[in-house]
Structure formats: structure tokens, C-alpha cells
């Protein structure tokens, strides 16, 4: 960023500077009035010397002999404007430290409490301070000294102008001759709007993270619906799928005379560095797009985060993952791929009727009857594993058996000791 600092010693008050700033805005896109006599202009992307000349002419019309300093570093531009001998002083990029070096330290306006200490150590010029090591300066002069040291080296990075907020793309269409009620014709319009928004997003190199669909109603007023995908995208086809779903759900009180599609938030479209030796690398992009499509409408991709809770059902927290998970390359060791019959949990425990026999004081199931009405004979029941706890949350107490049925299937049969009833919790598959 190139900055132009304008200094007019004849300017009166800060209010006058503010008034002047308004006049200068006709020449420069962004102006900032800091203190009396000093105005900053953002010359990024412009020819700085020409801009400074124009700005000086405007100031001169109002009286005074203004000067301008041009630099990428604010402190250098300020000193060039205030103390420079020429009408316009340009400090080239990279030459800021050399430009500042001969100036006395007072031009940096050091804090009053530091001045005696600096004088006592014989540091008189910016170059003297800039030549010292940061550690030495920090030890002797503290944080204020370190800040002064940075300014003396031309490392002043204080942002004078906030980053420009780029307007997010939007597209709209209004019609006054007729009123639309059918989704098909709206889809046709929406398709055009999506195309232009998508093209604008691609030009920005970003993807929309949130869209707003605004319906203007014939009776006045508007209704807004938000749409959010699983990942930032500039893909018009992906957006159309979501917007079509939204259109199917929307119920409006009146006909529509206008439609606006507005991007509310953008995010970077992810670009992952791949490995040419990865067999799945070439198709990862296609897999990610397909997965994003699935995540938008139908499903979630999850990974488990397991605790050591004694109940398997309460042990897992499912973490929803983004579609970029397809790029991950899990490292599997020897033995990780070996098959194992593991427990699968029913979505909800299934209440069953069980016949039991006594074994060491426990009621052990010998057969059970489920919702289908047929008895399932149990060949062997290992257990029980007795669990109880959760007094502070949801209390539980159960005796769990791993039962082998006559048909060879393995089921987890649990006696809920609190309610004295039997449930099938899962099957080993």
C-alpha cells in the first residue's frame, strides 16, 4: 500500500482538516484526517506523485504552503511531509530505514519518560537506535522503547486504512407486469441469477458460504430465506440443487414480483495438495464434490470420539466431518484390516420377554421372544457384565449378557435392573 501524507502547517483545527478531507475525497478513494494539519490519502493502485500533486493543489486553494510525503511506511511518509524540504518527498520502498537514519530521534516523538534515558545513553538519531539489537533496547527501555526502535527502522506496520471490504455478489430481478405463483418459472429466473452470482464468485476466487433468497411479494414486503451448504462453493449447479429444495419448501402468502439472490458470507474454496503416488488422488476432487452433494441433502459423514464410559451406547460422540475428509489418508497398520465380529447397536433397545434360570444368583436368559412373536433359544449366555452409575445424569443399572442363539447369531441381551425388564441392545455382526 502506498500512502500520501499531506502536511499543512497553516491549517487551523482538526475540524478544518476534516472539512478538507471531504474535499479531497473527490480525488482520492480513501482519506483520513488524523490531527490538525495532517491528512492521509490511500494511493494504492494510483500514481502516487500525480495524486499528491492534485491533493496539494486543492489544499493550496484553501491557503497555506502544504507539503506531501509518499511512502509505503506511515512513519516515513509523515516525516517526509512534515520535515521534508521539497513540496513532494518520495521515499522509495525499501529505503525507509536509510531515509529515517539521519533524522534526530525527536521526529519520532518518543514518550517523555524515555527521552532522558535515550539522551543519557547518547542515542541521538534514528539510525543510532535502529542499529541496536531489539533485545538490548527492550531490556533498557521496555516495550515503549521497542516500539520506538521499530519506528526508527521503518517497520511501522500500523494500518492507517482498514482492508477494503469487498462487496459480496448479488443478483436480482423485478417484474411489474405480472405476478408469479409457480415454482417452475421462478426456477428459470433463479437459474439465471445463480449463474451471474456464481460467475462473480469465481472471479473473486471464493465460494459462497451462505446465500439469502429474497422474495418480493405483490402485496408489498419481502420474505427472506437463508441457504447454507456443507462447504463454501462457487458451483452454480450445487447451489441450484439447494435453492430448488428451498423453493419446494417455501410457502408464501402472496404472489412474487421480484427475486434477489444475495451472498451473505464467503469462504475460501479448499485446495488440497495431493500426493501423486496416492491411488485415490486423481478422483479425490470428484469424490469430494459427490460427498458435498450428499452432505447437503441426505446425510452426514461422521467419525466417533469415544470416552471410557462403561455403556457402549453412551461411549461415543459422533463428530460431523466436512466433505474434505476424502483427502485424508488414514494410515492402517498390519492387523488393522483383520475381520472381527463386533457389536452393532440397535437405534433403540428392543423390549423383549425372556425366560431365565438362576446361575450364581443371577437370572440368566435361556430364551427370549421379540416383537416378531417367535421364541429364540439361547445356547450360551456369557456374563453378566454389571453396569450401574449415572446418578447425576440419567441413572442406569443393567446386567448385560452376550448370548449365542441356536441359529448362531450373537445378541446382547440386557436386564434393566431399575425397571426389571429385558432388552436387546445390539447384535454382533
Amino acid at each position: 500500500m502506498t500512502l500520501v501524507c499531506l502536511w499543512n502547517p497553516a491549517a487551523g483545527t482538526a475540524a478544518a482538516s476534516a472539512e478538507l478531507a471531504a474535499a479531497l475525497l473527490t480525488l482520492a478513494p480513501r482519506i483520513r484526517a488524523d490531527r490538525a494539519g495532517m491528512v492521509w490519502a490511500d494511493a494504492r493502485g494510483l500514481e502516487a506523485r500525480g495524486l499528491a500533486g492534485g491533493l496539494l493543489a486543492v489544499i493550496r486553494e484553501r491557503g497555506g504552503v502544504p507539503r506531501a510525503g509518499i511512502s509505503a511506511v506511515p512513519v516515513a511518509a509523515e516525516i517526509a511531509a512534515v520535515y521534508g524540504s521539497d513540496e513532494i518527498t518520495v521515499v522509495e520502498r525499501g529505503a525507509e530505514r536509510a531515509f529515517l537514519a539521519p533524522w534526530p530521534l525527536a521526529v519520532l516523538a518518543p514518550p517523555k519518560e524515555l527521552v532522558p534515558a535515550l539522551e543519557a545513553t547518547g542515542i541521538e538519531r534514528c539510525g543510532d537506535l535502529a542499529a541496536l539489537a531489539l533485545g538490548a533496547v527492550e531490556v533498557r527501555f521496555g516495550a515503549a522503547g521497542a516500539a520506538l526502535w521499530r519506528r526508527a527502522r521503518g517497520e511501522d506496520t500500523a494500518p492507517l486504512f482498514a482492508p477494503m471490504v469487498r462487496a459480496l455478489p448479488s443478483a436480482s430481478l423485478e417484474w411489474s407486469d405480472y405476478v408469479l405463483h409457480d415454482a417452475e418459472r421462478l426456477l428459470f429466473i433463479l437459474n439465471r441469477l445463480t449463474g451471474s452470482v456464481s460467475a462473480a464468485l469465481r472471479a473473486m476466487g471464493q465460494g459462497a458460504d451462505r446465500l439469502a433468497l429474497v422474495f418480493m411479494l405483490a402485496g408489498g414486503g419481502s420474505v427472506e430465506h437463508g441457504v447454507q451448504p456443507s462447504r463454501p462453493s462457487a458451483d452454480g449447479a450445487a447451489w441450484m440443487r439447494l435453492l430448488r429444495d428451498t423453493l419446494e419448501r417455501v410457502r408464501l402468502a402472496d404472489g412474487i414480483v421480484g427475486l434477489t439472490l444475495r451472498v451473505d458470507a464467503v469462504g475460501p474454496t479448499e485446495c488440497v495438495q495431493g500426493d501423486v503416488l496416492d491411488r485415490g488422488f486423481a478422483s479425490a476432487g470428484a469424490a469430494e464434490v459427490a460427498l458435498a452433494r450428499v452432505l447437503d441433502r441426505d446425510a452426514s459423514v461422521v467419525t466417533p470420539r469415544n470416552s471410557r464410559h462403561p455403556l457402549v451406547r453412551r461411549r461415543t460422540e459422533w463428530i460431523e466431518e466436512p466433505s474434505s475428509l476424502v483427502w485424508a489418508r488414514p494410515q492402517l497398520g498390519a492387523g488393522d484390516t483383520d475381520p472381527e465380529i463386533v457389536l452393532h447397536l440397535l437405534p433403540e433397545p428392543e423390549l423383549v420377554e425372556a425366560e431365565t434360570k438362576d446361575r450364581q444368583g443371577f437370572a440368566v436368559p435361556v430364551r427370549y421372544r421379540g416383537a416378531d412373536g417367535g421364541w429364540q433359544e439361547i445356547v450360551a449366555a456369557s456374563g453378566p457384565d454389571c453396569f450401574s452409575g449415572g446418578q447425576w445424569e440419567t441413572a442406569y443399572a443393567c446386567e448385560a449378557y452376550c448370548c449365542v442363539r441356536q441359529d448362531g447369531e450373537l445378541v446382547q441381551l440386557c436386564r434393566d435392573a431399575r425397571r426389571d425388564r429385558w432388552e436387546v441392545h445390539g447384535v454382533w455382526r
Partner: protein, 252 residues
Amino acid sequence: MRVPGSGFIVADDFGFSSGLDAVTPSRSAAAHALLAEHFPDTLPAAQRSRSAVPTGISALDRIFPAGGFQRGRLAVWSPGIGAAALLRSACLRTVAEGERAAWIDARHLVAGACWRTGPLLVRPRGELEALRAAEVLARSGGFALLVVDGVEPETGAMVRLSRAAHEGGSALVLLTRVTALATIRLSSRARLEQYGWRRSRGSRSTDVTAVSLRIEARASGWHAGTDLVIPVWRDDTRLSLEPGRRDRRGQR
């Protein structure tokens, strides 16, 4: 030059090592074949070789006509003990080989404590969403192996899935009783008399340690079977202390 015992061919077989040697058409074809064999993903989906996706269990792979699940084809495995275990193992093996596998859990039966990281675990909102997700993922060409568990699709849905698998080149396996349009049908049957048992400590009960299965594969003009023994997962956490409490057992 062939590296003894490795099955790999190093570069000079193709003339790459010497800038003076021209690459003959036969060598070019050999290089192409080698790339297709080791990096099938680098080829367009339409040109991908129809080599099978092996399960990694040699006894099981032998009963498949193609040595594994055929890419671009729909396979059906009747639900029964061992089916999910063997398909999960096949998914893990596919991921270990550097390809991509996904498990679509339509009924949300997978227990997090028993799930091994590797294949993508997709949890759809219902059975219809599971079928739709399977179709989209199969058609993408980004997944070597797709398993759909807990669906009972109608014939129309099977047609769609079969087409999607064909277009994308994925091996699509359904754990279902519906067998229409499947190129291969698998079933597993428990052999209770061959189960492995262990006497529980301090108890009169016996724990089952391994199950014995008879796996059968049927395709047009093909019927083969094999016997397998698979260990049973034990929940080691069942005897742990309450969550959050430090385990001081064995410490003085």
C-alpha cells in the same frame, strides 16, 4: 528389469532410464498397463480396468469369479453373522491400498467403540436418503468400494444403483435380502458346532471367542464356498472405572 519377488518392474524396462532408447509401442503399452495396474485412479473412469477390489482375505477372494468385488458391478450380501465383519475388513483393506471406501449406515447400527478409522462412515437420515447417497457416491467414480447397510431397495432402486456403479466404476455392495440385478450374491451361515469357546474366569458361563462361518458366493454359472473363522470383539472397557477417574489399580 524385474525386481525379484516384488512383482514391480523398474524404469529401465520401459526405456525411461536411457534417453537414447526409443520407447517402442509394446513398451509403451506395458508402461500403460503397469500404470493402470498400480494407479487405476489415474485413468478416466470409462477406461479404468475392471479389476476386482479384493477383500484381503485370500480364502474369501478365491470364491469370487474375479478374485474380489468387481468394479462397476452391484453385489449383494444377505444379512447374517459375519457379513458386516468381512465387508468392513474389505473396506479397511481398500483404504490400506490407497483407494477410497465408504460405509453407508442406513439404520445407524455402527457402534463408535467398534469402528476403525479408514473408510468414510456416512449416516443418512433414512433409507431413501441412503439409496440416494449410494447412487451419488457410486456415480462419482471416487470410491473403489461402497457398502450400503440396512436397506431393502425395490427393483427400480436396484436398477438405478446398478447403473450408478457401472458409470462410476465403483464396486457397490448391498447388505440386503433383495438380490435382483446383483452380479454376485453372497451369504454367510453360522456353523455353531465349530465356534470357539472359553470358560469365563470366576463364573460358570462360557464366552464365545470366535465364530465359524460358511460363506457361499453365487453368480451366473458360478457357485463357490469357503469356511472362515472370525474372532469376536470383546469390550475391554466394560471393566474400567468410571469415566474421568484415574485408574490406580496395580499401583502402591
